[in-house]
């Protein structure tokens, strides 16, 4: 499967996506997200602090998942350079970010990935890596990743949309479930997910279709039981994440005739508590080319932070960024529905 960008699909154009989301389609009339925030006294949405420094080190990936909000894949060549990473390190060193969250694509495919992890650890920061699991088996040079992660006590966060092959492979590609299971067993063998090891392995559930996630607690219990019973796999926590209507998932929604009903579900499930706890209030997202965004989703819609003159890592201005107005749009309904959704799962 090729990426939207490689096929010159209209949805690969960020402005086209934003137009669909903000103006609706012929049959949809979505209330403005900003109006919803205004009604509960949260507009303009303001940051609450600098806790998480999320870096997208590149869009290259060994998988081409049907719902990917990054439109990542093997044909994407955008990769963060070591020079940009160096600038990120300077910002991390000078500011009080507790966690550095590395994502992609498959972040491990960036040739400077391991160097970057080592340098961040030297600064004493907690590192999370969003590992797609199959990368560990994709090439012999990645087989030692579990040991590398263990050596640096990196927290692993891995997508596994379901505990069976049928639903996982439909979303992530044929054979992905079996490879993911093998990779999880390798991580368990290194101590990840094992009680008392201190090595954290979290899984991410996201619905494989046009529906919302249910109770994170119930899903976690089901996943733990099924993965232990069928494969002897252990993990720490399950993060239930709502699919945001952007990029390939937006394309799926429109093609399958589910766009209007999905947006309606998100709007009807708007939860003021979830809105108050959205991750963009304490997170910054850095793109492969060093531009700064309020979150990884805004990054994929090319909605840079509203801080003119300070929206690149090269001219990071914590005072200006700390006072900024967070950029929102109708895609944000994905983070405020039900129990809320963030890169760390439910928010309420």
């Amino acid at each position: 499967m090729k990426t939207l960008k490689a096929t010159n699909h209209p949805i690969a154009d960020y402005s086209h996506q934003v137009a669909i989301l903000e103006e609706g389609t012929e049959v949809s009339n979505i209330p403005k997200f900003a109006d919803k925030l205004e009604a509960i006294g949260l507009y303009p949405l303001k940051p609450t602090g600098f806790d998480v420094f999320q870096v997208n080190v590149g869009k290259m990936c060994n998988q081409t998942c049907a719902h990917c909000h990054v439109d990542a894949g093997p044909d994407r060549k955008e990769i963060m350079t070591r020079e940009t990473m160096q600038t990120c390190l300077e910002v991390i060193r000078e500011h009080d970010f507790k966690t550095v969250d590395l994502t992609g694509g498959a972040p491990e495919m960036n040739p400077d990935f391991r160097w970057f992890v080592e340098e961040i650890k030297k600064l004493g920061r907690h590192v999370m890596v969003r590992c797609n699991l199959t990368i560990i088996l994709a090439n012999p040079k990645f087989h030692d990743l579990p040991e590398f992660f263990k050596k640096h006590n990196v927290e692993i966060v891995s997508s596994l949309p379901f505990y069976n092959a049928q639903r996982t492979d439909r979303q992530r590609g044929n054979g992905v479930f079996d490879k993911s299971i093998k990779a999880l067993q390798m991580l368990n063998a290194a101590g990840y997910g094992k009680e008392g090891s201190g090595l954290v392995l979290n899984l991410v559930y996201n619905p494989s279709g046009a529906f919302l996630p249910a109770s994170q607690t119930q899903l976690e219990a089901d996943f733990k039981q099924a993965l232990m019973k069928d494969y002897g796999i252990e993990f720490n926590s399950l993060f239930a994440i709502t699919n945001l209507p952007i990029s390939r998932f937006l394309d799926y929604l429109i093609k399958s005739g589910n766009y209007e009903s999905y947006m309606e579900k998100l709007v009807n499930a708007f939860n003021p508590s979830a809105a108050a706890g959205v991750m963009c209030r304490n997170t910054l997202s850095i793109g492969w080319d060093g531009y700064i965004y309020d979150c990884d989703f805004n990054q994929m819609l090319d909605l840079k932070i509203d801080s003119p003159g300070a929206h690149h890592i090269g001219n990071f201005d914590s005072q200006a960024i700390g006072k900024r107005k967070i950029v929102t749009g109708n895609h944000c309904y994905g983070c405020t529905a039900g129990a809320g959704s963030s890169c760390g799962g439910a928010t309420t």
């Binding site: 379901f162 069976n164 049928q166 639903r167 619905p207 279709g209 529906f211 919302l212 996630p213 249910a214 109770s215 119930q218 899903l219 089901d222």
Partner: protein, 111 residues
């Protein structure tokens, strides 16, 4: 006037039944909400029971609603089809068990 008895859009208007009789509708929806809360049965188990019942009473609205509800709560396709088979077995069994009554009658009136 619709040219079909069932319109999927009507499911969204379920709450409108209060327009003609508010008090009873309010009581019903309050009760309904309580029934589906997590209790000694999980929300997922309740969704699967509702799915089976929906097939027994052959309500298209309920089938749509609890197919979605079951999937949202993390039910597998296999679990959902097993729930439908439970409904089918009870429904079929309810007919078949009356075969005993038929046999009793046959034995009563024949030599």
């Amino acid at each position: 006037m619709n040219n079909t008895y069932y319109n999927p859009e009507d499911l969204k208007k379920f709450g409108n039944v209060s327009e003609f009789q508010k008090e009873l509708a309010d009581k019903f929806f309050s009760y309904y909400g309580e029934v589906f809360k997590e209790g000694e049965l999980s929300a997922k188990e309740k969704a699967l029971i509702a799915l089976a019942v929906a097939h027994t009473i052959q309500c298209p609205y309920c089938i749509d609603a609890y197919t979605e509800g079951s999937i949202e709560h993390g039910a597998t396709e296999g679990q959902m089809m097993e729930a439908v088979h439970v409904a089918t077995a009870i429904r079929g069994g309810a007919s078949l068990v009356h075969g005993v009554q038929m046999m009793n009658k046959v034995k009563e009136i024949t030599m």
